[in-house]
């Protein structure tokens, strides 16, 4: 759901705890997604605001895109309270706030994908079994299995350590 008018996403001049020092930027509460940075109209509008150096990026991990309520910080340190309706989902490039003096745009943090290469079909079967059993989010790329690392890479590699130790699966990146 997007809208470009009406609700501007800012709600009152609340002051929230945990501000980052005396010069902390005013917190913003985001209650709607205004548009998509990739749309031509928004691209132009943001470009104009960018000239004033006033576009702030809010980076969130891909795993958090399905959240509707959380606190984040823009890369300038501004506290951003995301408080969206349940049928509104964040996406890379979502415009969260846009005024001539300030815009907030969401960016999805680059995801880490582990690339695992099974040496033969037997190893591939076994690796596939573990990935399913562990509810890993995966992609296939030729002979490799890509695994989304939502926590530390070591947490994932440890689960298939016997395969790695025996050299039947290689962690290639």
């Amino acid at each position: 759901m997007t809208s470009s008018g009406g609700d501007d996403g800012r709600e009152g001049a609340h002051s929230y705890g945990g501000a980052a020092g005396p010069e902390a930027l005013a917190p913003l509460r985001v209650v709607a997604i205004l548009g998509d940075r990739a749309e031509a109209g928004w691209h132009r509008r943001l470009h104009a605001i960018e000239h004033a150096g006033a576009v702030e990026i809010v980076e969130v991990p891909a795993a958090d895109l399905r959240r509707h309520r959380f606190r984040a910080r823009s890369m300038c340190g501004r506290e951003v309270i995301v408080d969206l309706p349940r049928d509104v989902f964040l996406f890379d490039g979502a415009v969260l706030y846009a005024e001539p003096d300030l815009a907030l745009v969401l960016r999805v943090e680059a995801e880490i994908w582990l690339r695992l290469h099974p040496l033969d079909a037997a190893a591939a079967l076994e690796l596939g079994y573990h990935a399913g059993n562990l509810h890993w989010r995966v992609r296939f790329d030729g002979d490799d299995l890509l695994v989304a690392a939502e926590t530390k890479a070591a947490d994932y590699l440890a689960r298939v350590a016997p395969l790695l130790d025996e050299g039947r699966v290689r962690h290639v990146g």
Partner: protein
Amino acid sequence: MTVHDLNGARGAARVGIGGPVGSGKTALLEALLPCLLARGVNVAVITNDLVTHEDAERLRRSGIIAPERVLAVEAGACPHTVIREDPTLNIEAADRLDRSFPGLELILIESGGDNLASTFSLDLVDYWLFVIDVAGGDDIPRKRGPGVLRCDVLVINKTDLAPHVGVDLDRMFAEARAVRDGRIVVGTSCRHGRGVETVADLLCHDVLFRDMSHPDVPIRDAAAELTRAETS
């Protein structure tokens, strides 16, 4: 029906409480609800049991919360399925609570007791706690269960039992923080109401966006203080 029919636009915040069998999920609800009600939070509860309504009945009988604000969802054979793979039943129950109680701010969803692998789908909840307990052994955090690693808040309950079960609380908390990359860990003794205000602070701050009960104390430090107190 669209979500816009639910309490204006947003509906209540939905918070999951998961964790192994008997770790104290219902005990946490019993201790937490009075704290939240005292702060004026408009709250309701959904419990998940395998094939009974045991926990829902226990809460309804407790007198802590109006009985009609407690719904039970039967999880059947598989408690994690209804919070992760297919949370439809819980989503429907939550939608029902939103419709029944205008102004509802918070729905707490207790998962049926499961194992360390259980996690909540973000389609169901905005935020989730995972409750483990001291009597389960101080090696539990080291076992790196997905529930322990991924939850928003790890609650280590039954700190009062540490001396009786030979658990080194300092080490247990340190290891829990380490496997969670420093993310928040709170110690509680629900039996004695200890640490529960901190859990209420976290919910009020992180999902209800309210001011804290003690505005002078930054919330993260408050939790650290508490776990230090619990471990000393």
